[in-house]
Amino acid sequence: MFLALRELRFAKTRYALIAAIMLLVSFLVLFVTGLARGLASDNASAVERMDASHFVLQQGSEHRFARSELSDADRRKVEQAGASEATPIGIRQFTVTHGGGDAKLDVTMLGVDPDGWLAPRTAAGAALAAGGGEVVADAGLQAQGLGIGSVVKDEASGRSWTIAGFVEGASFSHTPALYMTLADWQSWRGGEPAYTAIALRGASSETLQALKRDSAFELLTKAQAVSAIPGYKEEQGSLLMMIVFLFAISGLVLSVFFYVITLQKTAQFGVLKAIGARSGYLARSVKLQVLLLSVSSYAVSTGLVALMQLVLPDSMPFRLTAQTYGLTGLLFVAMAMAGSLLSVLKVARSDALQAIGGAAA
């Protein structure tokens, strides 16, 4: 403590420079992480928010909702396999018009049982009514000028629905979700095929095994369903690679910086050991410096990111939760501490003998 703090005070410029690098890197880590989380939510929140563990799709649909078509007979088959909590859903990406047919919107239509466990929990307005003719929409649509009572229309079939309420964070493949009743969905799509998929929860492993063996179906977990959304894997993969590289870079930069500084101070560590400082004390001093630098740079960069979030447009997919802040910070500091390892080893090996004979400067 004594040595670590006084050295930071003495060599302000040197340590301020490395702190600035750490600050920029951690800012970038947080920014890319926020973007990754935001895009993930923009891409898959409608599926992620579903309280389902598995989805049953048609065989050959290759995990894509868009390719799956199931009949009512399929639904009964799934129930016979022992899935007590199975509820069918319809998912279709579509273009609707609103405001009297002038404005077009790309949306994802979701047909759900209004009384079932996949029914959307509305944050504003009314819940999805069994009567039909109404939809519950992603709250993001409010920014497009839609409100409760607005009408959206499918020009091809001539059907229209009135927005009854809004849900927070429900989008699919970067389009806002519109929930309608399954009955509406079926009459709109023209009867058979009735559903896109069947969502399961609380299914026993025997049931899951049976469904997996069934050649008519594909069984996938929620995570598989999410990563099969077009573009999801590619988006998340490239952002994750950036994050991993940033972590590696921050660890390495710190490691090199402290290693060079430690090399410069080898003679000094020899003197300190000669006058009776233990290796552990000196190593702790180096580790404390790394800890101080990484924690303070991270703290400042969280502040900067929070400020930046105020300026970002609402339409920008950017999401950082307290949990993500905490986890990223822990990783960042852990990476920095790992980077100090090389220096700590060097300190442990520096030889007090160097102090004798005038070799030390």
Binding site: F2, F10, G276, A355, I356, G358
Partner: protein, 225 residues
């Protein structure tokens, strides 16, 4: 007179390529409290090896080293570090102060390492700096001090924990005659008034008259010069 540093039949060899070179061949030395002993010798005669062994920095090939009644054999690196901290004060050739510590912090570091209480350390540091005439420089970094001032800080640092043994490695090498004599006089007075044993390796013959005994390191043993 109490014996502080006791070295008996110390032998030390270096491996120099394929051949082993004997640096110390049965060296013996006793230094008592209140005594300043000068050790002379040409370069390469093993002065640094002798000082490293006497200072518990290097374990000899064979022989016995006892400091203030504690035999060094069998102590591990941590115990040796603790012994250096409490029993030995080092004064190095070029002062070797820590560049980022102010003068009084150089001294307080030593008491910090031995977990001494801060108020007592501050009093002792003030007293030592006053005694060595550098109290007015106590808030300066080493790079603002002259060579003589730096060496006086190094002496104060060596005295800080009140160790029974002082070891000085050519403390006058980087000083002019007047400053060099001053530094050695301080060492000699310190040894006498506080009852410390002091050993100074030097080849500065101008300061020998200030020492109680002058020994010569030759052929791996010490003999009166």
């Amino acid at each position: 007179m109490k014996t502080i540093l006791h070295m008996q039949d110390v032998v030390h060899r270096y491996r120099d390529g394929d051949e082993a070179r004997t640096v110390l061949s049965g060296l013996s030395l006793q230094v008592g409290a209140g005594e300043l002993v000068a050790v002379m010798g040409p370069s390469g005669s093993g002065k640094s090896t002798f000082l490293s062994i006497a200072g518990a920095l290097l374990t000899p090939g064979s022989g016995v080293v006892t400091i203030d009644g504690t035999p060094l054999s069998g102590l591990d690196t941590r115990a040796l570090a603790d012994l250096r901290l409490s029993k030995i004060g080092f004064i190095f050739q070029s002062a070797n102060l820590i560049p980022y510590l102010k003068v009084d912090e150089q001294l307080r570091l030593v008491s910090k390492l031995s977990h001494a209480d801060a108020a007592g350390a501050a009093r002792r540091s003030d007293m030592l700096l006053e005694r060595l005439g550098i109290r007015s420089r106590r808030r300066q970094y080493p790079d603002r001090l002259s060579g003589g001032e730096r060496q006086r800080v190094a002496i104060a640092r060596a005295w800080m924990n009140d160790p029974p043994l002082l070891l000085a490695d050519e403390p006058t090498a980087s000083l002019d005659e007047e400053r060099g004599a001053e530094v050695v006089r301080m060492l000699a007075e310190g040894a006498r008034t506080d009852g410390k044993a002091a050993v100074m390796v030097t080849h500065d013959s101008r300061v020998l008259e200030l020492c109680d005994r002058v020994l010569k390191l030759q052929d791996g043993v010490l003999a009166p010069a």
